[in-house]
């Protein structure tokens, strides 16, 4: 298949074929990171900007490493170092960056739709690095990549997502991706964190985590989104950890070969115990590793084409 899209704004816009095409492309990039010399000339002469208005360790570093391993030049801008603090609008910042002719811009923003707005005014490829509670497409892609790598398939899996679904862009993007496959998706967490009518997205609702994890192939834990008012949805983090923190006893109710995922950053002792986070079924660091390969694939597909 040939890639035709300029931007990656969300998983919802992607077909199943496009998702699989990215994952397959990522396969071919994964080895590069294991080599002694971790660099190929694929994107030499390309410029990639990361424009992050929200804090990030993993996503920003992962994109930067991915770009560098493909020999692209990278520039990082965060909200504290941008003209945002001087009152420049996002659109004006984007127009100014565009004038410097970058090939791709990765934006993270607290407001849903911010990347879509930029995509409408920029010729460069816009990649959504997380927009509010809306989407985080590369996270979902690396999650699917990890599931496929560890389980050998995506079809037939039971995936349980636990936590603040209402405010989670990771949950949304994963749901949009996973529903293309023959999967059972269960959302669990306190009712205040599960939006009404979530079933219309093709998922099940099970508030009781003990029931939700039964027979699960994948358990995906989410953190409480304090920056989006997540704390007001529960009486206390202590109570949340008692009721919804992932513990060894939950793992025992799942399939024997269950894998535990977390998009990070983890709040140890709240949504996940140390024992589980560091246990043999945890693939949390594999996710991070795969993130680089998946982002290399995305950068390559979006900017690597000849004009």
């Amino acid at each position: 298949m040939k890639w035709s899209k300029k931007d990656l704004l969300g998983i919802r816009e992607l077909s199943k074929e496009e998702i699989l095409f990215i994952l397959d492309t990522a396969d071919s990039f994964k080895d590069i990171s294991k080599r002694d010399i971790k660099k190929v000339p694929t994107l030499r002469g390309k410029t990639v900007i990361t424009l992050f208005y929200e804090p990030s360790t993993r996503t920003r570093t992962s994109f930067e490493i991915a770009a560098k391993r493909l020999s692209a030049d990278t520039i990082n801008i965060s909200s504290s170092t941008s003209s945002y603090v001087k009152g420049e609008t996002l659109k004006d910042t984007a127009r100014n960056l565009e004038s410097m002719r970058p090939d791709a811009i990765i934006i993270r923003h607290s407001m849903p739709g911010a990347p879509h707005m930029l995509a409408g005014i920029m010729d460069s490829s816009v990649i959504n690095g997380g927009d509010g509670a809306h989407e985080h497409p590369t996270q979902a892609l690396l999650d699917l990549y990890t599931m496929r790598e560890k389980k050998g398939r995506i079809d037939g899996l039971k995936i349980v997502i636990v936590g603040d679904i209402a405010h989670s862009r990771v949950a949304r993007s994963n749901i949009f991706a996973l529903r293309h496959f023959d999967t059972e998706i269960v959302c669990s967490g306190p009712p205040t964190m599960i939006p009404p009518d979530i079933e219309t997205l093709g998922v099940k609702r099970e508030y009781d985590i003990n029931k939700a994890v039964q027979g699960a192939d994948v358990i995906m834990m989410l953190r409480i989104q304090k920056e989006r008012g997540g704390n007001s949805l529960i009486p206390s983090t202590k109570e949340y950890s008692t009721l919804f923190g992932l513990k060894k006893e939950h793992i025992e109710k799942a399939k024997k070969d269950v894998i535990v995922m977390h998009p990070g950053p983890m709040n140890r002792g709240i949504e996940i115990t140390d024992e589980v986070a560091d246990g043999p079924y945890s693939v949390i660091l594999d996710q991070v590793e795969n993130g680089v390969a998946v982002r290399m694939a995305v950068l390559y597909l979006l900017t690597g084409r000849e004009p």
Partner: protein
């Protein structure tokens, strides 16, 4: 100066008139309505309305003219020019200007400005509470003397039920309606409707009940003090149901909705187009259909525009921080006629909701075509096809989600007090 409008189909629901009638205007008032008026005089101007409809001028009980204070969004001049183009002969201007219309000086300013610069009649709506703060009553009586025709804190509800009760009681002195914007601010924290679209977009959402709780409350308060209440820009199926039931028990309830609530759903917000950001938000398909049905059944009395013009930049930004509102004067008639074309609302009922019922609510002499009444009328055509182009708007606010829509039905001439304030020069030749 006399004007004779000849050959048109005249629809006047108030007098139950629908047929081919000529109408003679003498000065500011209607002199005669009859079949084939022959007036031989050099000083008579004849307008040929063949193939068109003559109806009482439209009356918008809910609009934002932005002046004083926000002249970069709209002025009384540009707003009334847009209103006249859309077929409105009277508009009610909401109080959320800067300064707020909560005292007679501001009311007098609006009245005077409209008199000297307005293309149509402007009737100011006074703020219920000082500064729209919801804390103490405005000087309602003084504003009434200066010309307000209604009271509203539009933009928000009066949070304090005790204070709203006092306003409802006090307004009885002047027999003016209280127009209630129904929104519980503790529930309405969002930018879009809480439903399938917000589930997908992740935008902060406001549920239907934020409106319905206040609809229930305000009706209960009005009923208790036996005051009339008008509920504005109703957007949900639940509100229609509550109002329908309440009207059976209490007669002094009226309500309106706006064209966007019977034309669009929250699906329109999925592309993050800030022109779809409006308060209350565009609701679900079920809600939209209930609004259409409410208009048909008569539960919803009035169609208002909630004309909310904005300058380009306040919409040209992230959805979360963009301003709420739709520029509505120049699309309202055609969008309403879409209901008629779709078989959802007969033409007569449409004119009732856009003219007769608003006149009744505000106790105005217009809203009908009778001898001796003000010559406030429009000539329009239900079948002319046109494409909405925001660049051609007379309003400063180009913020419309309907840009590019192909619609059927157009206003061709607007007359206010016998004066032609708008004419489609391509169709109505002088």
């Amino acid at each position: 100066m006399k004007i004779l409008i000849r050959g048109g189909r005249l629809i006047d629901p108030k007098n139950d008139l629908d047929g081919k009638f000529d109408i003679l205007i003498n000065g500011a008032t209607i002199e005669k309505i009859d079949k084939n008026i022959h007036e031989a005089s050099d000083k008579i101007k004849v307008i040929d309305a063949s193939n068109h409809i003559i109806a009482p001028g439209l009356i918008d009980i809910h609009a934002h003219l932005r002046e004083p204070g926000y002249e970069y969004k709209e002025t009384i001049r540009t707003g009334t020019r847009a209103a006249a183009k859309g077929g409105f002969t009277t508009v009610v201007s909401m109080a959320n200007t800067a300064p707020v219309n909560d005292n007679k000086s501001v009311t007098e300013f609006i009245v005077e400005k409209a008199r000297s610069e307005g293309f149509c009649r402007v009737l100011p709506c006074g703020a219920i509470t000082r500064g729209l703060k919801g804390e103490e009553l405005s000087e309602i009586g003084e504003m009434y003397e200066a010309g307000i025709v209604a009271l509203s804190d539009d933009g928000k509800s009066v949070k304090d039920a005790g204070l709203l009760r006092k306003a409802l009681e006090y307004a009885k002195l002047f027999s003016i309606p209280v127009i209630s914007h129904c929104e519980d601010e503790t529930l309405a924290k969002g930018y879009v409707h809480e439903g399938l679209s917000s589930l997908i977009s992740g935008l902060e959402a406001t549920p239907s009940i934020a409106e319905e709780i206040i609809v229930e409350r305000d009706i209960a308060l009005a009923r208790y003090v036996e005051a009339p209440i008008h509920l504005t820009h109703i957007s949900t199926a639940g509100s229609v149901e509550i109002i329908g039931k309440s009207k059976k028990k209490y007669k002094k309830i009226t309500c309106d909705t706006c064209p966007h609530y019977f034309t669009l759903t929250d699906e329109a917000t999925l592309g993050f187009d800030t022109n779809t950001k409006v308060n209350p938000p565009l609701r679900s398909r079920k809600d939209m259909e209930a609004i259409q049905e409410g208009l048909r059944s008569g539960i919803i009395d009035i169609i208002a525009t909630d004309h909310a013009p904005h300058e380009f930049t306040s919409k040209d930004m992230e959805f979360d921080i963009a301003s709420f509102g739709i520029s509505g004067f120049e699309t309202a008639l055609a969008l309403s006629l879409k209901l008629t074309h779709d078989g959802l609302l007969p033409l007569k009922a449409l004119i009732q909701k856009l003219s007769v019922n608003p006149a009744k609510l505000l106790n105005l002499p217009s809203g009908e075509l009778s001898t001796g009444k003000p010559a406030d009328l429009i000539i329009f055509n239900t079948d002319i096809k046109w494409t909405i182009d925001k660049e051609t708007f007379f309003s400063k606010g180009k913020n419309t989600p309907f840009h590019g829509w192909k619609l059927k039905g157009k206003n061709l001439l607007t007359m206010v007090g016998g004066k032609i304030v708008y004419r489609d020069t391509n169709i109505i030749k002088s």
